[in-house]
């Protein structure tokens, strides 16, 4: 028996003119409006710091900043970037390492490093969204980022360093008694 025929492939969508800012430079590209941002970055522009892993927005390896907010670039299409400011991991350290990057280095917040650009982007978004985010706000920012190597031990150390560097509530988080932690609900 043969497997069922798939529907005929959709006709190729006509390209459109994408005009957006990428890491501070203005770019004009002719791309299909539905082309995924992750493909524009990794394939068309060969900016491979943004990673690809699940392609359904569950792992966070492909996170980028769009107008300062964290987005999964695997779920973002070209037309959604029109006129926006996109920042990738390559744009984070243009003026030297960001404090978030330094914290990852000092605390061993990664092993293989594949999830790291996405983690840094998500934390950067949290730091842009509010002044001096505390430990729990930073942790909340990593809801959509998976790491398979570290068990989040090093990443928790990063969060403690970032929150304690920044404000008082962070210092409380450093000394936070794990036993005083809240309920079993998740």
């Amino acid at each position: 028996m043969n497997r069922p025929e798939k529907s005929p492939l959709l006709e190729k969508t006509a390209d459109f003119s994408l005009n957006f800012s990428l890491n501070g430079s203005q770019l004009y590209l002719q791309v299909p409006p539905t082309r995924r941002l992750v493909d524009i970055l990794r394939r068309d522009l060969r900016l491979t710091g943004t990673k690809i892993s699940c392609e359904i927005g569950r792992c966070g390896a492909c996170m980028v900043l769009i107008d300062g907010k964290a987005f999964n670039s695997c779920l973002t299409m070209a037309y959604q970037c029109q006129g926006k400011q996109v920042t990738t991991i390559e744009g984070i350290s243009k003026d030297g390492l960001d404090v978030i990057q330094q914290a990852f280095l000092k605390e061993g917040g990664f092993q293989c490093g594949y999830c790291t650009p996405g983690m840094i982007i998500s934390l950067k978004a949290a730091c842009l969204a509010r002044v001096s985010p505390d430990f729990s706000e930073l942790k909340e920012a990593l809801t959509g980022n998976l790491c398979r190597c570290t068990g989040y031990g090093g990443i928790h150390r990063v969060l403690r360093r970032l929150s304690s560097d920044q404000n008082e509530s962070g210092r409380r988080a450093v000394g936070k008694d794990r036993d005083a932690d809240s309920s079993a609900e998740r």
Partner: protein, 781 residues
């Protein structure tokens, strides 16, 4: 030593990873990030059915699609149309039969991945479906279709000592339980992939992550029918592996397509293709019957292991050997009978995965000890003490091993964990709300390192002063996140007192490194440590000889240091004070002929007793888990996990800590949530929306890792690897903690919240305490 940067002993080597900066800036080029001019994109056509006869394969429509450069199938394989590290019985391309849904039928290279995808859909395959053998039970039934020429059993083990049946009759207490473990997925964030580049010379360069570059080269040469020297394997870095990239994955397809097209070809699996075609941890059903006398002395232990090895062999046999050895743990048990079967099915291929068969049987064994202790009304930790091995005892299978007191050291050490205090006093209440119950559990394990008796397990490495004036150390190993580069850097700096910048560390490139064996089996740290010990003296002698000749300063007064060779003030013994740098490494390298290469080859430490799979070096771990179980939802929160590990000296503290923390959380997933579910031979968990791995909210915020570094006097085998030991004792500790919290013994992983939800009446009493109270009073009256 507590592994904490602020504690005594750790801070010295608490350094930024050698590959760190590139990893935080996005500059780190993973092999799947690479691109080349004129590069094509490759895709693989997977079977549409888990078990079927192939009637015909028609490639013609795909070949005609504009943009397609090549379409290959079984007739295009010049050499052996098969791969598999231990037993090459997995077809590169199936020709007449498909045995699982990940089987490959054809591969396409095209100008874009979209065209390649479209071409796959134009390949017409006609099948005759066959009954699907979707469980070992079905595979073992007499009527089952036979999946391989040798039948449905890949491998069997049996180990007997003593008189088990007679002794069971004398046991004061016997517990018999059947345990089941899930099909865990490695879930490396970087899926399998690579780029394959035909060189002008006619050779092929492979950029694809693996855990043993030379083994990939051997396997690929066999498939391509070319000499091994015509292939260069660049196998590092990888975005995680955990055993999963040890076997070939994209390599045969990329290599065949690139050579056919004469152009670079990139293949990078989508997550769903990775799920379908990639290896998993063997699901095992482990029956254990364990008997003890009234004092808790273990007398007899009967074990029956059945593993679902899936459609093909890969390392299913060695994994079963490992399980057979490790189901006895660090305990003295006089009467033993173990039987194991690795069974072929039409399920996804099971293979090598961190812990290598130990995780499954240690979960079962430690569960047995907890159950026995409860029945004998003994403290479960005391029961372990009563039965734990003596340092000079033989290994689990009776083989001679390097004497170790690790199990006793960690048995004691774990009691220093702050969680230990909770152990006795816990009566299940948390002082929060009545439906959240707390518990703690403890588990003990011993884990072999190296490949074991019967498998070649070579080590090696080389050292030279290279033309750039760097001390170059080369190993046939790979960095997939574990921190190997930093470990080598620390070892080299300990030997040569030089700066990190004076070093060039070369790994993962068969054209530039000597064979060193695999980067698996917790063997690499020990292997590189041995190699450097072997080459250090001849290297230094040559360097000093040359430096003395060039500077006129006697060799005895020279010492390697930052940037070059220094004169020293002799302070006696090994310790020397550096006075003045007299020649730089670069100046030394620039003088005269090329520096010689100092190489070493050796076999990984091996038991002298010819028992297949038996190990010689062991590490030990004790784990304490604290859980909180919500009886309304059945959800288990892991509130704490602390570890005491005995694996010899710690070389790289943050690396060691990271391996234990990360291994522990991977095992937390195995215990509480992970399962690649298959139904009738199809994966139903196709991506990370249904295959759940722990997030930052599922794990303890802090894990204490206590490393016992002291080895028994006379043990000069140095540091052992810790890549796996952190994963093996988590499940039994958590399940024991759940027992304490809820009174329920779970036997199947991952734990099922449904089993932990309280009975309706109990829930009502939680939610309407007053009403329940009234009813209670009413009854009283």
């Amino acid at each position: 030593m507590l592994l904490d940067r602020n504690r005594n002993g750790s801070e010295k080597q608490w350094r930024v990873r050698r590959d760190g900066k590139d990893k935080v800036t996005g500059g780190h080029a993973f092999l799947t990030d690479m691109g080349f001019p004129r590069m094509l994109y490759g895709r693989v056509l997977r079977s549409h059915y888990p078990h079927a006869i192939i009637r015909s394969i028609d490639l013609s429509a795909a070949e005609k699609l504009p943009g397609v450069a090549a379409v290959l199938f079984h007739k295009d394989v010049p050499g052996l149309n098969a791969f598999g590290i231990a037993d090459p019985n997995q077809p590169v391309f199936c020709d007449s039969l498909v045995r699982y849904e990940g089987d490959a039928l054809a591969a396409v290279a095209a100008e874009t991945s979209e065209i390649a995808e479209e071409a796959l859909q134009l390949i017409k395959v006609e099948y005759d479906c066959l009954p699907v053998v979707d469980s070992p039970e079905k595979a073992l039934s007499p009527q089952a279709p036979q999946l391989h020429p040798e039948g449905n059993i890949l491998h069997e083990t049996e180990y007997v000592r003593g008189e088990i049946e007679a002794v069971f009759a004398d046991c004061a207490m016997i517990v018999e339980t059947t345990y089941e473990t899930p099909r865990q997925m490695h879930t490396y964030l970087e899926t399998e992939g690579g780029v394959f580049v035909p060189e002008d010379s006619g050779s092929l360069t492979v950029y694809a992550p693996t855990q043993h570059g030379y083994k990939d080269r051997m396997q690929l040469a066999r498939i391509l029918a070319v000499p091994e020297e015509a292939i260069r394997i660049i196998s590092s870095p990888a975005g995680g592996s955990f055993g999963g990239k040890d076997e070939l994955n994209v390599q045969p397809y990329g290599a065949l397509l690139a050579l056919r097209c004469g152009r670079p070809v990139k293949i990078h699996y989508s997550r769903s293709e990775s799920v379908k075609a990639g290896l998993k941890r063997h699901p095992m059903t482990v029956m254990m019957k364990t008997g003890a006398d009234a004092d808790g002395k273990l007398l007899a232990h009967q074990v029956d292991i059945v593993s679902d090895t899936g459609a093909y062999a890969t390392l299913g046999g060695p994994v079963l050997n490992f399980a057979t050895e490790h189901c006895l743990g660090p305990y003295r048990i006089p009467h033993v009978h173990i039987k194991g079967k690795a069974v072929y099915t039409n399920n996804g291929v099971s293979g090598e995965f961190r812990g290598f068969g130990g995780n499954q049987v240690i979960f079962a064994l430690e569960g047995q000890l907890d159950r026995l202790a409860e029945k004998l009304q003994l403290d479960p930790w005391e029961l372990r003490r009563i039965n734990v091995r003596e340092p000079d005892d033989p290994g689990p299978l009776g083989q001679r091993i390097v004497p170790t007191d690790g199990p006793r050291q960690v048995w004691e050490g774990i009691q220093r964990s702050p969680l230990w205090k909770k152990r006795k006093r816990s009566d299940g209440t948390t002082g929060k709300v009545p439906w959240i119950k707390a518990g703690t559990g403890v588990a003990l394990a011993m884990h072999g390192s190296g490949l074991g008796y019967g498998i070649p397990d070579p080590g090696g490495g080389s050292l030279r002063l290279n033309e750039n004036g760097k001390i170059e150390a080369a190993f046939g190993h790979e960095e997939f996140g574990q921190g190997l580069l930093t470990t080598i850097e620390i070892l080299l700096q300990d030997h040569f007192h030089c700066a990190a910048e004076d070093l060039e560390i070369v790994i993962g490139d068969t054209d530039r490194v000597p064979p060193s064996g695999s980067s698996t089996a917790s063997r690499t740290t020990n292997s590189v440590w041995q190699a450097l010990n072997n080459v250090r003296e001849p290297f230094l002698a040559a360097v000093y000889r040359k430096a003395a000749k060039l500077t006129g300063i006697p060799e005895i007064r020279l010492q390697t240091g930052p940037g070059g060779i220094w004169t020293t003030a002799d302070c006696g013994g090994d310790k020397k004070n550096l006075l003045k740098r007299v020649i730089t490494y670069k100046q030394l390298a620039d003088q005269g002929a090329n520096e010689p290469v100092f190489s070493t080859k050796f076999h990984y430490p091996l038991t002298p007793d010819p028992i297949i799979g038996a190990h010689y070096l062991y590490t030990s771990i004790a784990v304490i888990a604290a859980v909180e179980v919500n009886l309304l939802t059945g959800m288990v929160k892991i509130a704490g996990l602390d570890h005491c590990v005995a694996a010899g000296p710690v070389i790289n503290p943050p690396g060691y800590l990271g391996q234990i923390e990360g291994g522990s959380v991977m095992a937390l997933g195995f215990t509480t949530m992970e399962n690649a579910v298959m139904q009738e031979g199809y994966y139903t968990t196709k991506n990370l929306d249904t295959y759940l791995v722990p997030t930052i909210f599922d794990v303890p915020e802090f894990q204490q890792v206590d490393a016992v570094e002291e080895l028994i006097s006379g043990d000069d085998f140095g540091p052992r690897g810790v890549g796996e030991i952190g994963t093996v004792a988590i499940a039994p500790a958590i399940v024991s903690a759940i027992r304490q919290a809820t009174g329920k013994w779970l036997t199947a992983l991952p734990v099922s919240p449904e089993q932990l939800v309280a009975a309706d009446a109990v829930i009502s009493s939680y939610l309407q305490p007053e009403e329940a109270d009234r009813k209670e009073k009413g009854r009283d009256n």
